[in-house]
Structures are given as C-alpha cells and as structure tokens.
C-alpha cells in the first residue's frame, strides 16, 4: 500500500470532477491510498511568467504541507505536475533557496517531497501487467487516441527520462492494458493550446483545432487524455471550435482513469461519465449511463 497526498490543483475540483471521481475510485483498488491535505492552494503555474519567485513560493507552500504529513504528492493536472516538480527539484538541490523559501513562508521545508503524475504512477508503480490483470470488461471494440499533452513529459530533465518526449509510450501502454485499441494520428505530440487561451483565444483554438482534425481523421472513438486543461481545450471548447470553423467533430474526450475504471468493471456513474460532455452512441452502447 502506498500513500500519496492528492493534489487536485485549481481546475480539477471545479471543472474536472469526472477525472477526480475516477481517480478516487480506481486508486484504492490498486492499493493506493489518497490523502486529502487541508490548505493546498494553486501550484504557482500562473504566477511564474510574472514573477518566478512568487511561483516558486506557491509551489513550496504546497510541498511543505505534504512534507509535514510525510507524503509525496500525486498530481492530476500536467501543468501542476511540471510546476511542482520543478519547484521540488530546485528546492531540493539549492539549500540557500530552500532556506529563503522557508523563511518567506514561515514554514520549514526540508526538500523531501517527490511529485508524481497519476499516469506515471500507474505506469511505473502499479505497472501495465497488474492493470491488465484487473480488467474484467471487454473494451476491444474501442479505438482510443492518446493525447499526452506537454507538461507530463516536458521538459524531460524534470522527469528522469521515464518516457521519451518525442515518441512517448506510457499512455499507449496504459490504454492497451485496458484492452482498448490505440489509434495513432498525425502530430500526436501537438500541444492543446491551453497555455495561451487567456491571452489570445483565437490563436489558442487554432492550435486546438489541428489535433481535433487529426484525431477525427484517424477515426478514433474517443480521445484519451490526462490533464484537465487539455480537456478544457478539446472538450469544453469543442463546440466553439466547431462553430468558429464550421467543422463537426462530435469527438468524445475521456480521462485515462475513467477508461481504466470502466475496464475494471466500475459503472459509468462511478467514473463520472455523464459529466463528459460529448456523447456518442458507441460509448452509450458500451456503458450504460454514458
């Protein structure tokens, strides 16, 4: 049994509770205990472009809270993963900076916390063999297009080279473990555009549109992703892209832990499937309540 502090970040608990539901349902079945830590705040990602030290201190605040409970952090959002991992490494390696941060926060941080994205944890710690052994529902009819996003893999020096940023495998293997088929498409490593949504919506959605075009062209039944902001771009903004560019996708977007949960026999309700906005007949036929 391993234990993690569950770090939800800003987006998941408001706009991605289907992701959160699926993770909370799946984890105990894999002997992962998730602990809710009071006082977690934003990871610091939005402050970093303005003032890197403010961003670092926000990261340190969260790391220090987890450390006080003797826990490593499990993240669901890839931007949180990048920001907190970078803060953790910087503070671990630079004793002076760590001392400064502790003084600023009025809270001691010793630099011991490790940060893990839930997909990496499933891939490395639980392992695809164990996941495969827990599958009870046949998903072989489903073709799923993996979207890795950016901060789950890059910058790669933060992530000990656990996967190749140019040709990543982990999400492919995780999808295969559920029995579903991996659907490949053009430009798989393309960014969702979310990083500039607030600054220039039109440009951001042009980036989003490219991947929707490519995934639909490859005839995937759904896109599978592991970051709530990527979901905002591909799912919440899908209608908007359709109306801006006169296209029609109707492409369901699923979080990987939802797919895993469904393969393990959890119900559509248990993994929050009715909160996924884009419906399809195929998903509805496979999963009652989808």
């Amino acid at each position: 049994m391993s234990r993690y502090a569950l770090y939800l970040g800003c987006t998941v608990p408001v706009r991605g509770i289907n992701y959160e539901l699926a993770v909370r349902q799946v984890a105990p079945r894999l002997d992962i205990e998730l602990v809710d830590v009071d006082g977690f705040a934003c990871c610091g990602f939005p402050a970093r472009p303005l003032d890197w030290k403010a961003g670092l201190l926000m990261g340190a605040h969260n790391l220090a809270l987890a450390e006080a409970q003797g826990l490593d952090i499990l993240t669901l959002c890839s931007a949180c993963t990048g920001t907190l991992t970078e803060a953790a490494l910087r503070l671990k390696e630079d004793a002076q900076l760590r001392q400064w941060a502790s003084n600023e926060l009025g809270r001691d941080y010793r630099g011991t916390v490790r940060v893990r994205h839930v997909a990496r944890m499933l891939y490395e710690e639980v392992g695809v063999e164990r996941l495969r052994s827990l599958v009870t529902v046949d998903l072989s009819a489903l073709g799923l297009a993996p979207h890795y996003g950016c901060h789950y893999l890059k910058p790669s020096h933060l992530y000990d080279g656990f996967d190749d940023p140019e040709n990543p495998q982990s999400l492919d293997r995780l999808i295969e473990a559920t029995g579903a088929r991996v659907v490949h498409y053009e430009d798989e490593s393309q960014c969702c555009g979310g990083g500039i949504l607030g600054f220039d919506e039109e440009t951001a959605l042009l980036v989003t549109r490219q991947k929707l075009d490519h995934v639909v062209a490859a005839q995937a039944d759904a896109m599978v992703l592991i970051c709530p902001f990527c979901a905002i771009m591909y799912e919440a903004n899908q209608r908007r892209v359709e109306s801006l560019y006169g296209t029609s996708y109707r492409l369901p977007v699923l979080y990987y832990p939802q797919v895993l949960g469904l393969a393990m026999g959890l119900s559509a309700d248990q993994v929050g499937l009715k909160l996924n906005r884009v419906k399809s007949r195929k998903l509805a036929e496979l999963f009652q309540g989808a």
Binding site: K154, S156, C191, Q210
Partner: protein
C-alpha cells in the same frame, strides 16, 4: 517598405542580452545561432505569424529591448517545451520567454488576463473559486469539500510586491 518596419539601430540597447542572461531562465540566450529549429516545430508559430521564437530571440540579441518588452509576442509562447527539447544549443526558450516576461512585468507590462488571474489568486488562492455552490455540487458526487487557502497565497503575492494598488 513601410516606414514603421524600418529598424533604427541607434535605438538598440546592446546590454539587453546581458540583462536577460542575468535573469533566471535567460542564462543561455547567447548560445542561440538562429537555426530556427524552435520556430519550425512551434505549435503556435504553426498557426499564426504573430509568434516566431527565433525572431524574438534574435531581436533580444540585437538589443531591441523596447520592442521585445512591449510586444504581445512574448506572451504567445504556450510553454509547451517542444523547442526546449529540440534546440541544438540548449537555449531553453520557454524559460527564456518567462525570463523576458518577468522583466516586462517589472516595467509594468502585465497583460489583462494575468491581472485577472492575480486577482483570483489573491481572493481565492486558486484560479477558480470554490464556493458553497461548488462544494454542494461536489458533495452530490460524494467528493470532499475544499477549503480555499487564500491567505497563504495573498501573503506570498504581497511579500513579492504584488499589492492591489500597484497594479
């Protein structure tokens, strides 16, 4: 050529590259030999001519301080790190863009969207408010309530000089 496109080299500030190199994240700007690998693989540059990382780095190296700091384009980097992984000179462009943004911000150039985000962080400690409505909705799904930690974040922002009246 239009008058405004003509560059007057007498306005260049050659020390700008050193200023960037002294900023965390900007250390490796002098390594750039303008090969364009960054621009070739850039997802934003792929959809709009408004953003061209090679051009921005080159402008910065030339000392076009005012143009770089006041333009929109440094804010168009989506920080996807594609160029970071591919750059043969390890210039670390997304970090460089954040370094330039940090300098621009100290000179008062804060895009509106970031002002809004700062306000959210100060008020709620997070980008999206979690009020009673949200916690009731979470409870309906069997999810635990979340307490906003605005105080710690506000204290960090204020210690870093982000006081309300200064924006």
């Amino acid at each position: 050529m239009e008058e405004e496109e003509i560059i007057d080299v007498s306005t260049f500030e050659p020390g700008f590259r050193d200023e960037i190199a002294a900023e965390p994240g900007g250390e490796y700007i002098r390594r750039c030999y303008s090969c364009g690998t960054c621009t070739a693989g850039c997802p934003v540059g792929g959809v709009t001519a408004k953003y061209n990382p090679r051009r921005i780095v080159h402008m910065a190296l030339l000392g076009m301080r005012e143009q770089v700091l006041t333009s929109d384009f440094v804010w168009l980097c989506s920080v996807c790190y594609t160029c970071y992984e591919r750059c043969p000179q390890d210039v670390r462009i997304p970090e460089l863009m954040n370094a330039v943004r940090n300098i621009a911000v100290r000179e008062g150039h804060v895009p509106q969207t970031f002002r809004v985000q700062l306000e959210q962080l100060r008020e709620h400690g997070r980008l999206y408010e979690i009020g009673n409505y949200d916690n009731e909705r979470r409870a309906e799904y069997g999810l635990p309530p979340i307490r906003e930690e605005a105080e710690a974040v506000r204290r960090i922002l204020e210690r870093r000089g982000w006081k309300e009246e200064q924006e």
